[in-house]
């Protein structure tokens, strides 16, 4: 995610720092690429960024870039161009908006000067469309594409987050783990050839240890938010701070920023400072963020004292990334990569985790995204909605697209939420 919308109030200093860092990071990347002709990589959010950084190849996340384009209100023009070129409206817009900003770059000037030509694109083949989108994008740039295939899981432990930290070898079947390790080793070979630098395995272990420390800090933030009488930090600012660090996770800056964020949240808790004083309803957002309308998430504070407390972005850090026992760091990294975002969408994993999170965070109501075009991310939704309702948590499905604002009726969505709050959530 980019920084929270410029129009949304920022309550934390850390949020401003995170936004400034990202902008400067991207400007520096452009200077390195254009002035020094250094390579960089354009990657899906779920590939192991650590490997790229450790051989000196900065990696830009497709989802981060899409969110930037959407937050700058530039998505409609690119998506119109994509439609005009014959792509039907059922195709995923989130993963392809970045491609559209390259392929149809003549329709408008992209944010921050646009993406330079990457040396390499890298994607994990989660959804069926990823191979297509990244192949077309690589063609548009004239760049190489490296794919990490996605074997399907046959063993399905429902409470996956209880295995991920210490028993990650049990979480991923041995044949899948071996496959991903071998693919990552090939990726390393390719990255070493591009950069001319060898991957230092000791440095990889240290980086993963730093990632663990960073996510432990986020775990502590999560506990602060879950247990404070009123939530001390808005969901949008959680996301801004978490994602700015996740894209460069385990680096010195990331760890320092995570700690600064933590300390500021802790200070607010200790001083009794709430994001929405007089909190009446605690909400969770299930799904990717509405990047084109992040103001949506603060729209019910004044009218209903309803505050978004939870999204997957902070919570998934500690549960999805921490791996203890780093004797074989590549295997540990592969165990994170092998199933990664499946836990967020698919049965049995997603519903079990989200209900647990809702209980931990004392959630009163859940808004569940029904994505218009991200069809694979739309699966598992009915299991999640029913599991939440069975747990006594009211659910409101929200139909929308995370980057495509063209069919989004902001007023109607807000009216639906207000009605939901008044009829199902806030007990007067």
């Amino acid at each position: 995610m980019p920084e929270a919308s410029d129009r949304a109030d920022k309550q934390l200093g850390a949020t401003m720092a995170a936004g400034a860092f990202q902008k400067e990071w991207f400007a520096k990347l452009r200077r390195r690429v254009f002035d020094n002709r250094e390579p960089y990589a354009l990657v899906q959010a779920d590939v192991p960024f650590e490997l790229f950084d450790l051989v000196g190849i900065p990696a830009v996340s497709n989802q981060w870039w899409a969110a930037i384009v959407a937050a700058k209100r530039q998505a409609p023009a690119y998506l119109d161009a994509m439609d005009a070129d014959g792509h039907h409206d059922g195709l995923c817009r989130y993963c392809s908006l970045g491609y559209a900003s390259t392929r149809y770059c003549d329709v408008q000037q992209p944010p921050w000067g646009g993406l330079p030509t990457p040396k390499l694109l890298c994607a994990r083949l989660t959804c069926d469309c990823i191979h297509r989108v990244f192949s077309l994008w690589a063609e548009a740039f004239g760049s190489e594409l490296f794919e990490i295939d996605h074997p399907g899981a046959g063993d399905l432990p429902p409470r996956w987050w209880e295995l991920g930290r210490h028993r990650w070898r049990e979480l991923v079947e041995p044949h899948r783990l071996a496959f991903v390790v071998s693919t990552l080793e090939r990726l390393v070979e390719r990255l070493e050839a591009i950069s001319g630098r060898q991957l230092d395995r000791g440095a990889l272990r240290q980086r993963l240890e730093s990632v663990n420390q960073q996510e432990e800090v986020f775990d502590s933030v999560r506990r602060l938010i879950a247990t404070a009488p009123e939530t001390p930090v808005r969901m949008t600012e959680q996301i801004s701070n978490v994602m700015a660090t996740q894209w460069v996770r385990g680096t010195e800056w990331a760890l320092a920023h995570a700690r600064a964020f933590h300390d500021e949240v802790k200070h607010r808790v200790e001083k009794g400072i709430a994001a929405c004083p007089g909190e009446q309803a605690r909400l969770m957002w299930v799904g990717a963020g509405l990047w084109h309308d992040t103001d949506f998430y603060t729209a019910f504070e004044e009218s209903h004292r309803a505050v978004f407390v939870w999204s997957m972005y902070l919570a998934f850090g500690p549960d999805g990334y921490i791996r203890y026992g780093l004797d074989d760091p590549m295997a540990a990294l592969a165990s994170r990569t092998a199933s990664f975002n499946e836990y967020l969408h698919n049965p049995p994993w997603a519903a079990e985790w989200i209900v647990q999170q809702a209980r931990d965070h004392r959630i009163d109501g859940a808004l569940v995204l029904r994505p218009r075009s991200m069809k694979p991310a739309g699966t598992g939704r009915l299991f999640i909605e029913r599991a939440l309702e069975e747990a006594g948590i009211a659910v409101l499905p929200i139909e929308g697209d995370v980057v495509d604002a063209r069919a989004w009726d902001a007023a109607a969505a807000r009216a639906a939420v207000k009605s939901f709050l008044e009829t199902r959530v806030i007990r007067r």
């Binding site: 995923c92 469309c129 496959f179 693919t183 049995p348 694979p376 598992g380 299991f383």
Partner: protein
């Protein structure tokens, strides 16, 4: 055989399969009968139990029927359900079926097997697929309660290769000179997946002998591209406008058989290579699909591109396909409905325009 007929016939020997990317050679070697779930021609049936649990617009008709049959107990007597990892909706169906059992939504299901066939082009994929082929071989032997040897499998490959040859002979009667229309030939071709090979050879050879005697059909020759169709409804609609479907992208028509499987060396590796390369679906690599479409376009007068509501993949290929067709002056039309359902009047009008344009081009060419 329609899906409803399939499920009524379920018996302890039936292996119910969601998509033809599962090696029927292994299924048959285990003594099981492959039964493929399809969206048509019984596509007008309702799926109320599946609709309660499957999100709309994501799962194609065939998977809705599979889930509906599973939830209503119509698959209880099947030997197993096999779902290949060759599309996201198939994989999600596997996860859902397992979840139905875990949550008690389904009373019971036969063993539900994920066949984890990968189709990307990395060097690690070949060994992975061969290993998964071995696992499937062992799992099906266990399901069937049989001891299986690689020689059993080799024998089945030989029989199936004979059936592949019969498919190719039938397909040759569609192009370049069509002697049979698409509605008639598609069931003959797709029966390859379900009939015992020897029976299929006998049926297909007899049919081919008879069809070869027919006069050529002189109508605009249409190819079906986009998302593979698994029934004849779209063929029938196109042919009702005076054209003839002579080619389709997908595993049910002329592409059902592909090349023979080598059975001299390791049969599991040979099957892994064959199915990774030839299985047509959303995870077929873009380059491989483009190349095969270029080959298929020879002798084609018009193309109908089916991009149904649940499509997440083939729409990405469309602009390049459109440019290719324009460069070769082949008219085309896109249809966005469910190919298992009757076409609406607007789509019929598009087909009428397409076949009219094709006929005009043909006449100009002959003049």
């Amino acid at each position: 055989m329609t899906t409803n007929a399939i499920v009524r016939d379920s018996s302890r020997l039936n292996a119910v399969i969601s998509w033809p990317a599962v090696p029927i050679e292994i299924v048959r070697a285990a003594g099981l009968r492959p039964i493929f779930v399809r969206g048509g021609p019984g596509g007008t049936a309702t799926t109320p139990m599946a609709d309660e649990h499957l999100e709309p617009g994501i799962f194609p008709s065939r998977l809705r029927y599979l889930v509906d049959a599973a939830l209503s107990g119509r698959l209880d007597n099947a030997a197993c359900i096999i779902v290949p990892r060759t599309s996201d909706p198939d994989y999600k169906t596997f996860l859902y079926l397992r979840e139905f059992v875990r949550r008690g939504i389904a009373r019971s299901l036969p063993p539900t097997i994920l066949f984890d066939l990968l189709q990307s082009e990395g060097p690690d994929v070949r060994a992975y697929d061969a290993a998964r082929m071995r696992v499937l071989f062992d799992e099906l032997a266990s399901v069937a309660g049989r001891q299986l040897s690689l020689d059993d499998l080799r024998q089945e490959i030989v029989h199936t290769n004979a059936a592949r040859s019969a498919v190719r002979r039938l397909a040759a009667l569609r192009k370049p000179v069509p002697r049979i229309n698409g509605v008639e030939v598609l069931p003959l071709l797709s029966a390859f997946w379900q009939l015992p090979p020897n029976d299929y050879v006998s049926l297909a050879t007899g049919a081919a002998d008879e069809i070869a005697q027919r006069p050529p059909i002189e109508r605009p020759r249409v190819m079906l591209a986009g998302a593979p169709v698994d029934g004849t409804a779209l063929h029938a609609a196109i042919e009702s406008h005076g054209a003839i479907v002579v080619e389709e992208v997908g595993p049910w028509g002329s592409g059902a058989a592909g090349d023979d499987v080598d059975c001299v060396g390791d049969p599991l590796l040979a099957l892994a290579d064959k199915y990774r390369r030839d299985a047509i679906g959303p995870r077929t690599p873009i380059g491989a699909l483009r190349n095969s479409i270029v080959r298929m376009l020879d002798g084609i007068d018009a193309v109908v591109v089916s991009l149904p509501p649940e499509d997440t993949v083939f729409g990405w290929d469309y602009p390049a396909l459109r440019d290719l067709l324009q460069a070769r002056r082949i008219p085309h039309v896109c249809l966005h409905g469910d190919p298992c359902q009757p076409l609406n009047s607007a789509d019929h009008a598009r087909l009428e325009t397409l076949t009219g344009a094709t006929a005009a081009v043909g006449e100009a060419g002959h003049a």
